[in-house]
Amino acid sequence: MNTPTMNLKPLFMPRTHETTEGNKTGSWRYLRPRYEDKTSPCSTACPAGEDIARIEMLSAQGFFKEAWETILRENPLPGVCGRVCFHPCEGVCNREGFDSSLAIHTIERHLADTAARNDLKPALEKLASQPQKIAIIGSGPAGLSASWFFTMLGYACDIYEALSEAGGILRWGIPEYRLPAPVLRTEIGRIESQGIRIFTGKHISESELNKLRGNYSTVFMGCGYSRSTPLGVSGETSESVKDGLEFLRSVRQGEKPSCQGLSAVIGGGNTAVDVARTVIRLGGKAAILYRRRRQDMPAFAEEIAMAMEEGVALHELLAPGAIEAQGDQYKLILRKMKIEGQDKDGRGRIVPDGDKTSEVTVERIFTATGADVAEPWYNPPSDKSGAITLSHCQIKFDKEGIPLVYGGDLTNVTKNVTQAIASGKQAAMAIDTYFQQGRDAIESRLASCRVGDGLSLSMEVYMQGARRLRSSHIVQPEEINTDYFQFEARVVQPRLLVEERTGSFNEIDMRISANLAIREASRCFNCGLCNQCDNCYIFCPDVAVIRGRNMEDRHINFDYCKGCGLCAAECPRNAVTLEREGL
């Protein structure tokens, strides 16, 4: 039988043999993403221009030493600033509108304390040695800062300090319970270890200044305001009214002046609060008399609250009128004030409330209404011809063209520790530019080192560090993709109990654990800074995000990127910019 044979042909299966990578889908694109680190609002608000978003990023990853070094590039005194700075950074924190701002100062202090405890030595960039030598008068925050940054730029520095120990207001003006001496000594020790010489007990007179100008290429005047301004009322004598700053200095020098009975403290700044709280610790009673209201006081709100917890009385809207001696006591006649309208700075404008007065009898009176220079020639000359006036310092040239720089309290509009640090930094940058490129280059060179659009300057940018690549755009709250963040409470600063506080000068704010510091730092949005979270990589529909080991290696493959914009939209912190193609 003839059986038909089946004609078995091999089954044909079309099989692909190449990838789609031949299609350059990048040609579809009309929007172009770009990795671009931006400026965080905190770093612009910081007078020292610290790279806060990066400090928090490193801290959250446990890189405490690197985070600490990142601070030191812009601020030589993190242990001090973590304690006494008024932290304007936290006021502009983008996290504020989400839950609450980041405790930036607490982390700064933690980093400084950790470095001190482990005796860490910072590894910082330093430029080649320069022939010029710099003399610095005053070892307060401005002088210390100037010496630190001048040294970074390669200059040898000598500091002349009138008192027995360096630190200025930090050593003699701020009470121990806010800034313990060992903390300051550690910071100054690190500054000295950079090769800076500090001559203590060396008061410089006006004639000695002229001699110094012959021996140095530049003199930086950072003498500060170390004397309280007088009240200017009748009955005011050196006996009846004591200088608040002088009082704080004597206590920090180890004296225990008698403070029995009630002391009146006139003023509303931090010095007034410090004096009152010191009086309490010495066993006395203290009343702060302020011509405005509590909300108008320049002192930190937290300090005022703690002072009141400790038993300091606060009387508002009272201006000193006259003082009468009554035996060992003084009768203080006070004029009552009232609010009428508003001052330029937004605070209520005060005017006398008719002829109303009140009286108080006290054991002693401290003035803390403001401060001034100890010797009038510290002030920059009123003749500004030929001088360069910058935001935080003033440079005057003598006949030979040798610059004399006035900085710190002498020139700052806002006078505080961090502004003084900013002044020292600005002086170092300006003088270096003057030596290297001449005086005409100063303004533009400094402008190129600004952090965002503010007045703060970055030494890292000045020294051509990676930070110079940052865009000056300041990240706004709406540019943060908050879907990637969870509500989390801000760290609570552990403190001594009131009873523990009033009995001693022990530091009030206690340290937090590394664990808590990491958790707090992790709350940071890292505004504008890539922390390699990989969202752009994960969500790219076109496999066009190429990761590398570091930020610099991360890039977009524009052969295939269709410009959908997901990388920019899903970046939690606005580190990706989307622009129109072809611009």
């Binding site: 789609t20 031949g22 994960i538 969500f539 914009g565």
Partner: protein, 293 residues
Amino acid sequence: MQIDAYDREYMCSGHVGCAGCGATIAMRLFMKAMGEKTIMVLPACCWSVIAGPYPQSAMKIPVIHTAFETGGATASGVRAALDMKGDTETSVVTWAGDGGTFDIGFQSLSGAVERNEDFIYVCYDNEAYMNTGIQRSSSTPYGAWTTTTPGQDWKRLRKKNIVEVLVAHRIPYVATANIAFPEDLIRKAQKAKSIKGSKFLHIFASCPTGWRIPSEMSVKIARMAVQTNIFPLYEVEDGIHYTINHKPKEYLVREYFKLQGRFRHLTDKDLDQIQTMVDEDWGLLLKKAGERS
């Protein structure tokens, strides 16, 4: 989740998916979980195009293009062939759109899972026939505009609850996943891979073109579908054990609707009605999971 899952890549650039396509994100993430020992069955869907025209392929694993209605059957055959070869290691995956799952491929899916074939069926859901021009499917949600439900004739029928249909088959594993929750998606894919028998993954994959949204919004919108309880993340084992994976912040559904062009015509009254429907579904799910809101 395997630590290196994110580092693996089984998809190529140069595919022709639209800019911001959610379905390609779904595939990328899913394949990172599966690894190279995978054979994929692709019934007609957007991905039939995205995977590339002959002789190109956007995938680094074997892919079989097959007819619209045959996702379940083809996978059953591939599984049987592998079993005959003694290869139990390789996973078989059917990767179908909502049309190929909810509508056209439904009988073949139901048949395959009824036999408890050992494979993973993934439905990436973009809520209409997007590839052919945005025609409504039984997955299109209540209220949506499509080219076949245009103007005032927007879809006034509910979206089919496909997960519950599969749960009713009592298969070992059914789960929902979403491109905006990559860790959850990868974990579920790896879990499905480790289970023998039929597994069903329902992946929410936004479609900028069909939903009338900007391309950079596709992940955000997908995330909002979870945050509003429109697309809850949960898994069901053996048809009985419910686990809700994500308790959302419960944003109002109107937040999700107002961002999409396909819902632009809805009035406040319509949105209130949809909110009631979503709340009702969420309440039902909580009950099944034995949880309270």
